[in-house]
């Protein structure tokens, strides 16, 4: 494209004198492209290296980890084994915290999407007095520092007798997921042209039917985004879990990982990293799966 536009005028005239002129921009774009991809490579390597290291360590045997980095245990270890993964599940009982985390994260996600969709729609479309103030208040709540909330929430949960139980964690996570999800979905609903909803109303739908059958399907990308945010927040949380949970059988995965590799004489980094790889997989899969659904311009074709 750029080489073409750089040589205007008739082709015959440029053929004699135009050659050096035409080459220079081409060489410049080649250099520019090479630099660009070099920079991309550096950035990718830099950010992916910790992940590589994590996977590498998770595939070492207990004894190899004990020997430290170097020799046969360098950047590319000579012997790889899945024993750390086996160990996590058989000896360390990592399955229970995984299930706990899954329950909490899944419930948080579903409730977040459901409530935030209704709230976001209402704030975007219904004639609510003070909708702006409500939105501001919701957002402020969402940006409250986590550690400032831990103390008061601990007292509340203790007085309600809800400590050391995974289900109250869902409510705690909703404090953070709902504001951001509501705000996000409100903005999403604002972007959907009003005509679409009005067409459904004239076609004979009630507001709720129009929401369910027309607006929500159109807002699916927004709901996926909100859902992913909620899932990741609940799945990754450490601060609340460590504060409110006590019995190992009630631990969520991030909390359990801390206790995985502890023994009196050695830190089993391979077991820790194996567990980290395991809890990373659902998030990675979720993002990959959802990415295909978060396609911009889903309303393409709806209007002229």
């Amino acid at each position: 494209m750029s080489t073409e536009s750089a040589t205007p005028g008739p082709l015959v005239a440029t053929r004699s004198r135009g050659r050096p002129k035409r080459r220079r921009p081409r060489r410049r774009t080649v250099v520019r492209e090479v630099c660009f991809y070099l920079a991309v490579t550096v950035v990718v390597l830099f950010s992916l290296f910790p992940f590589y290291w994590m996977v590498r360590t998770s595939l070492l045997s207990d004894s190899a980890v004990g020997q430290g980095v170097g020799g046969a245990n360098g950047l590319f270890p000579a012997h790889l084994t899945g024993s750390a993964y086996m160990e996590d599940f058989t000896q360390q009982g990592f399955l229970t915290p995984l299930v706990n985390s899954a329950i909490v994260a899944f419930a948080t996600t579903v409730i977040t999407i459901f409530v935030a969709a209704l709230a976001g729609y209402a704030l975007a479309r219904l004639p609510i007095r003070g909708a702006g103030a409500i939105l501001a208040f919701i957002l402020v709540a969402g940006f409250f520092p986590v550690l400032a909330m831990v103390g008061p929430l601990f007292l509340v949960l203790r007085d309600l007798g809800l400590l050391d139980n995974i289900y109250p964690l869902i409510i705690v996570y909703l404090i953070y997921t709902l504001p951001i999800a509501t705000y996000l979905l409100r903005n999403f609903f604002m972007q959907i042209p009003k005509d679409l909803e009005e067409a459904a109303l004239v076609d004979g739908a009630t507001r709720l039917v129009a929401l369910r059958r027309v607006l929500i399907p159109v807002a699916v990308p927004g709901m996926f985004t909100a859902g992913i945010l909620a899932f990741i927040l609940a799945w990754n949380d450490f601060a609340f879990a460590v504060s409110f949970l006590e019995t190992p059988g009630h631990f969520t995965a991030p909390l359990a990982i801390v206790n995985l590799g502890q023994s009196q004489f050695q830190v089993f980094y391979n077991r820790i990293d194996a567990a980290v790889v395991i809890i990373t997989i659902p998030v990675a899969l979720l993002v990959l799966f959802a990415q295909r659904r978060i396609v911009a311009g889903l309303t393409a074709g709806s209007f002229r």
Binding site: L201, D203, P217, G301, S302
Partner: protein
């Protein structure tokens, strides 16, 4: 199928702005009524009030004799075509068309038959399984139509449904929409800013401006006897030539620059022209009421208009002659902007002077030999002159 009746319908926004003022309109069963006016004249607001998408501040809307003011859109039994089509992007063409029927819980088989019938009428049969994104602009427009015609509503409401199509398709769909409407014989309220659409499609045309209904009648009626300067300037293409003139003391002729034209017989009566004798009037001449004097023989009297040709557009079947005379020309935009009642704006000669540059237009026979930069003499069909009060903008004929 039913009649549609608007009585004193008014829309006032909380900030005091009146989008629609005291609108009275009757649409007979099966009638095609076109609401036409410039953008912002309140025509779309009026339509949305009928649909139930906008609250009514004052007045009543009746469908088939039943007042629907407080009914929700779904209980009004109207089908609407939106300017932007507003197709459901996640549904196929068949689902889009059948959506209203599926909401009525119509049995699957019956629904399918109805959707196929609508698709057949609109030539969409091959596209029923596609999503809107896979359709062309014209096809999307048809789907929007299909969504309306698939049920038998009390009325069709159409909000500039053709404005997003290219010119050729628009002309085609104009005929198509008219044909379908006639076939279904459902009362239709059709909003457009395009006066050609209004003229060609409507059984009747209602011209609106600044929230008020100015004139409502058959297209030919509105064209031949515009009630006001605004309607005269708005309806017709090329637009009516409007000049600042002056009536003589006897009420027999009108002076345009240094030339004179006889008044139409209907305006010779003193009861009609009395107040205007010796005073300024606005004179309107439709382009087709000017003929090349070399072709048509004038039969005496003051029926000739001499000017200079600026440009000739050959359309094959006829010629459009752009010319100027020495009378102050009132440009169409001036007439469209001139306010009607709220704050009567006197059209001052000085102001109009700036508009004289814009040429007048005559529609003459293709055989005419008129050429650019020549002097030209037109024969004027003086019986079809339009005269307007320069202050109120209303026609002198309506004073009868």
């Amino acid at each position: 199928m039913a009649t549609l009746k608007l009585s004193g319908v008014t829309k006032r926004y909380p900030n005091g702005f009146e989008a629609v003022t005291d609108l009275d309109l009757d649409v007979a069963d099966g009638e095609f009524m076109v609401l036409v006016g410039p953008s912002g004249c309140g025509k779309t607001t009026a339509l949305r009030m009928v649909a139930g998408l906008e609250d009514i501040t004052d007045g009543t809307i009746e469908v088939g004799g039943r007042v629907v003011n407080d009914l929700s859109p779904r209980d009004r039994d109207m089908a609407m075509v939106f300017q932007n089509y507003a197709l459901y992007p996640h549904m196929t063409v068949a689902q889009n068309i059948g959506f209203s029927l599926s909401l009525q819980k119509m049995p699957k088989a019956e629904l399918r038959t109805k959707v196929e019938e609508a698709a057949r009428v609109l030539g969409l049969t091959d596209h029923l399984d596609r999503k809107p994104a896979q359709l062309s602009g014209g096809q999307r427009q048809r789907v929007a139509m299909g969504r309306a015609i698939v049920r038998s509503p009390a009325a069709f409401l159409m909000d500039e449904p053709l404005s997003n199509l290219d010119a050729k398709l628009r002309v085609h769909m104009r005929a198509e929409v008219s044909r379908i409407q006639r076939r279904l014989a459902v009362a239709t309220l059709y909003v457009t800013h395009d006066q050609v659409e209004a003229m060609t499609m409507g059984d009747r045309v209602a011209v609106m401006r600044s929230g008020r209904l100015l004139q409502c009648g058959r297209p030919q009626e509105v064209y031949n006897s515009p009630a006001s300067l605004f309607v005269a300037a708005f309806i017709g293409s090329p637009a009516m030539n409007l000049y600042q003139g002056e009536m003589d003391q006897q009420g027999a002729t009108v002076q345009l620059g240094h030339q004179r034209l006889d008044l139409p017989a209907a305006l010779l009566d003193e009861r009609v022209n009395g107040p205007y004798r010796g005073r300024a009037v606005v004179v309107g001449i439709r382009p087709e009421h000017l003929a090349d004097a070399a072709e048509a023989s004038g039969d005496g009297g003051n029926r000739r208009l001499e000017g200079t040709v600026d440009l000739v557009e050959e359309l094959g079947s006829e010629k459009l002659v752009h010319f100027h005379i020495d009378a102050a020309r009132l440009s169409t935009t001036d007439a469209l902007l001139a306010s009607e009642d709220e704050e009567p704006e006197t059209l001052e000669a000085g102001e109009i002077g700036s508009a004289t540059a814009t040429a007048g237009v005559a529609r003459v026979s293709a055989d005419s030999h008129i050429a650019a930069d020549q002097r030209v003499v037109f024969t004027v069909d003086t019986e079809r002159l339009h005269l307007f009060d320069p202050e109120t903008g209303s026609t002198l004929r309506s004073a009868q």
